[in-house]
């Protein structure tokens, strides 16, 4: 398949542990096509863009994108640093149709929560994705819940257990991450998360971050996807229930 398509280069952004490194080596040996495996972690986004620019001979565009990414990331980082500990919310990331799968500390799925200085309630254990019980979520009683599953977002308000026992549900602080054209939160873990960070920062710190999301969306989509959405299109994007920061 790969040989038939005759690519000049294979690019893979994701985990760089021994398994994936050896898989990349294998493919490179089998096909004779150079294979680049880049670390997909959020805080290496700038380096990913620079490296790709160099490899692809698109330094100018890469400089533009990485400058944007680095300004965005640094800007958020410095503003977050000033947030006092008691203003940093406890966040639960709900995955799956029942919202009972979540990401542990160090998991690529919850990097955005950690980057923004909030507390991932499931962060006391290190690992990837894990299943948790309803009781445990009630015990954590997170202040904010973020999900990527529209079905969970719809069900959470109708669920008698959640409504009775979670302050995030009572205070209407449950949010659905946008998914167009790529997910804003953790799937796939790529540059699409940059705009996700802006979105999440306004959700986590509504009093501290000024709502400049719409402007940022326009810039980000123009830069990364070569297409600036109209104000109407942005409104439609943010009109999906649960998406707009309140």
């Amino acid at each position: 398949m790969i040989l038939k398509a005759k690519p000049d280069l294979i690019i893979d952004v994701g985990s760089t542990n021994a398994t994936f490194a050896s898989l990349a080596d294998r493919v490179q040996q089998q096909t004779g096509i150079p294979y680049i495996l880049l670390d997909g972690r959020l805080d290496t986004t700038v380096q990913q863009l620079e490296k790709l620019g160099g490899v692809l001979g698109a330094e100018t565009r890469a400089r533009e994108l990485s400058a944007y990414a680095s300004k965005l990331l640094d800007g958020l980082k410095s503003r977050i640093a000033a947030v006092p500990a008691d203003k940093r919310p406890d966040v639960y990331y709900a995955r799956g149709p029942q919202g009972l799968t979540t990401g542990l500390r160090g998991s690529i799925n919850v990097e955005m929560i950690e980057f923004l200085g909030a507390k991932n309630v499931a962060g006391s254990e290190t690992g990837g994705l894990a299943t948790v019980g309803r009781e445990q979520v009630i015990l954590w009683d997170p202040q904010v819940i973020v999900t990527n599953d529209p079905n969970f977002y719809t069900d959470v308000w109708k669920d008698p257990v959640w409504a009775a026992s979670l302050s995030a549900v009572r205070k209407k602080r449950v949010y659905l991450s946008p998914h167009l054209p790529f997910g804003w939160f953790d799937f796939p873990p790529g540059a699409n998360r940059l705009i996700g960070l802006v979105w999440l920062s306004e959700i986590l710190y509504p009093e501290l971050f000024k709502p400049d999301l719409k402007r940022e969306i326009a810039t980000f989509y123009r830069l990364f996807y070569h297409r600036e959405p109209t104000p109407q299109q942005i409104d439609v994007l943010l009109a999906e229930p649960g998406v707009a920061p309140r």
Binding site: R95, T101, T131, V132, G133, E135, V161, A164
Partner: protein, 340 residues
Amino acid sequence: MIVSRSRFPVALFVLGTMLAALTMLAISVGSFPVPLPKVIAVLWAALTGADAEVADNMRVVVLQVRAPRVIAALAVGAALASAGAGYQNLFRNPLVSPDILGVSAGCALGAVTGILLSLPFLLIQAFAFGGGIVAVGLVLAVGAWVRGGDRVLTLVLTGVVVGSLFGAGVAFVKVLADPYNQLPAIVYWLLGSFTGVLPKDLVVALPLIAIGLVPLALLRWRINLLALPDDEARALGVNVGKLRIAVIAAATLMTSAAVAVAGVIGWVGLVIPHAARLLVGAEFARMLPVSALLGGAFMLLVDTACRSVGRTELPPGVLTALIGTPVFIWLLALTFRRRP
């Protein structure tokens, strides 16, 4: 075996007591701390309709999170073990589990299709239930079409074939699924779990399990005769064909409902009937109630352990396999040494 006849009431009594104690224990432990007196107060209030002076959170945890979960584990364990007991008797083979006619593979295909289509959880459960029924229906239809030969053997072989066909379907759905969202959801569903059980799940699943269990209990004496060769059973006035379909339908209904609630959990339906047979003998009328009680107790114990190991949960299917494999080997050795 005279020994086991006199053992039967004792076994029922001991198991019943054990089950009651285990239920109380399971409802008292969990990650959300609720002191035992409060648990009792909440349960008492729920039974008598009085007001419990307990924080809202604790009441919700005990009544709406733990109690449904405990009941679901009991019901699923009882259903899987009873279905296994019925099948082991029907197929005259102690190595048979409720999956033999492909019911779990059918449920799995139904559920993963639901996940692939991003359906709400309730519909995913409905798809799982329907998938199990369709798979076994297909097996029966093919079995009837093939005719001739050994009916039981035909059914088993068809079951294996249909099961692997549905298994291939599951694999295909996994390939189609989006790897960031749907694939993890599929994997977690296939591992099985009681973590999301809500009271409304029980309202649907318990009657379905009961509808399967009651005919098995009512027909227990006749089902016992299915262990005989077909012509001998016929000579005793049993309509073998109809009875066989009845057992299959009951077991399929129970297993599908159980899998729709908790996902695919292996070993219970294979090991528990074995243990029951060892306790009270092979007679179905005695083995069925003991299987049901023992299955419920085992499943409850496993699920309680799964949710108590830490902040995150273990899939119960892993634990049932870890316990089930050595126990099964031990039971096998015990059975064969007793009857050389």
